[in-house]
Amino acid sequence: MASQIVSAILTVLVGVFGCVAYFWGANRLLDLAYPAHGVSGMRAVDNLRRQGLIRPWLFVGPALILLGVYLVYPVVETLRLSLFDRGGTNFVGLANYEWAFGDREFRNSIFNNFLWLLVVPAACTFLGLIIAVLTDRIWWGTIAKSLIFMPLAISFVGASVIWKFIYEYRGGGQTQIGILNAIVQSLGLEPQVWISLPFWNNFFLMAILIWIQTGFAMVILSAALRGIPEETIEAAVIDGANPFQIFWKIMVPQIWGTIAVVWTTITILVLKVFDIVLTMTNGQWNTQVLANLMFDWMFRGGGDFGRGAAIAVVIMLAVVPIMIWNIRQATREADGGH
């Protein structure tokens, strides 16, 4: 253990030193290769121009290489692999996609993913908005927000343990130690095995993600609410609007853009959700989702990279519209800004 700590510290130092050495050294080399001082005026101008051409690439170089290796290349390679067989050697055309759409488990995953996409972003945004509005009106709102925000720091696996304990079912007349079943029992109803309850079990898994992500929605929306000009609300009060009208007709329309951002951010997260399903059910009892199915095929029976890649491409396709929208928003902002 001690040796591991020492080697970790050493690597951090080597890594940081390596980075600094690269950036400093590369700059120094460039200055030496094209000196801007101590040479004749024309040469200096020319050298400065060349420096200006090269230096940006020295700065973005390491990032570009890492982005290329870890994100751009894999995207292209996944597209290619999805057209090949399990080992990635023989071209099989669209066979993997044909298999996928004929596969019961895959179609079940698509259905479940749709459920997740419908429920989780909507629930998080709605609850986040409600809590943001309510907490802005009380003196202990900051503490309340902090506590509701906290699950965002908890890992999906940790959250799964927490919620598994809530859903715990004990049969045969034993004391229920899961709080949900204890409540159900005290209401005079029959305790349930929530995790394997057909169809509804999906919602019990979604509750975990909603629990984690509502804080995120709340913080972002709370900031947006504070940006609403006070006069618009005062004017509505003078006109005799009730709190619900103020909320729906004055506040919500003004933060519509932020709501969209929160919604899409959570949507992307939902598409990638994997840990919760893996740890809670591993896709049993019809709770499979695409991300977990893909992980499953990566290792199932030694791994079928072709099928895994095909599932990854399907996830990617779902993200592409959001990606295009994001880039458009950002470029529009940049055009307006600088």
């Binding site: 951090v12 890492l66 309510l134 720091a153 940790g158 972002i220 900031a223 009060v237 600088h338």
Partner: protein, 382 residues
Amino acid sequence: MAARGSVAGRWGVHLAVLFFVVLWTVPTLGILVTSFREAGQIVASGWWTALSSSARTEAGRLPTPETQVERDGRFLLEGNIFGEGQSGTVLAFGTRAQNPTEFAAGATADIRDGATLQVNEDGGFTLSSPTRLEGSRGQRVYYQASTPPEFTVKNYETVLFSEGIGRSFINSLTVTIPATIIPILIAAFAAYALAWMRFPGRALLIATVIGLLVVPLQMSLIPLLKLYNGVGAFFGVPAKTYLGIWLAHTGFGLPFAIYLLRAYIAGLPREIMESARIDGASDFEIFVKIVLPLSFPVLASFAIFQFLWVWNDLLVAMVFLGTGTEQLVLTGKLNALLGSKGGDWEILTTSAFITILVPIAVFFALQRYFVRGLLAGSVKGG
């Protein structure tokens, strides 16, 4: 806004917020409380009863009459109804199942034929009979006792030292710290170049970074796994190493890092940069002496994000570091325990709490930076 609304409405707001706070904290509270309870108690009663003294009615038997003594013409049997290791306060007792709390603690109860039974609060009892006590079985006794809340740190000892959580904790730190520090510097240089240096293809690069923000991680796993295996085989080194996972986390974290840092650095005042340039400072000097110190808040924001993300990650660690006991990080270990120790809640809750302790501490200590990063990262577009 607080001035608006009736008194009832304001109370309603307080109650509603309280409701949400309770709903959001109770789940975590559940495992925190449970991790300090004994295994036997965890399955005997819900964790929400752990804080109060629990009153429970129990049935037991007094010892067999062998140990009776004769004193002043009466036969006495004395002892304590609580067994070894038990404690509590007796509230009431009885000898009939129909009425288990017939007599208050300390009272002397006539049971039959002149025999009396007295049970004190501390559980000490005296059975007194005018005739010799007979039979091979002890007298049936029912009692209601309240047990004080009992907490223990034994679970933590077990989990840290014999379940391998300690080892995983070190592994998690080994993965997280370099994977948090390495991307900061690389992203900061790139962000500065994208914000303040003019070069062909800059706009395209920015668009690419924003596009890569949403690429699902799952896309990259299979090709990278193949690449790692290939590199490992080529150089004759293991494919799953810490270096591999640091670089993987760095690569996955870069789009967000560049995006967040660029937005901030682009917003720094132009005059500072220009006056430094007029004074003859190079881009490198401007970056190191002006941009880096001014960007501290956003660097801190990103560091927290990356730290939480890497610490809480399960997928990347499982793929690039493997699932052997030696390499498991905390999340992986917890996942493995869920499989192998499904019903051992004392192990699971304690392990889970250790896992979430560090991120929660970081979160509460640096919440300001975290929120700032969150706002910068998403309100502007991502």
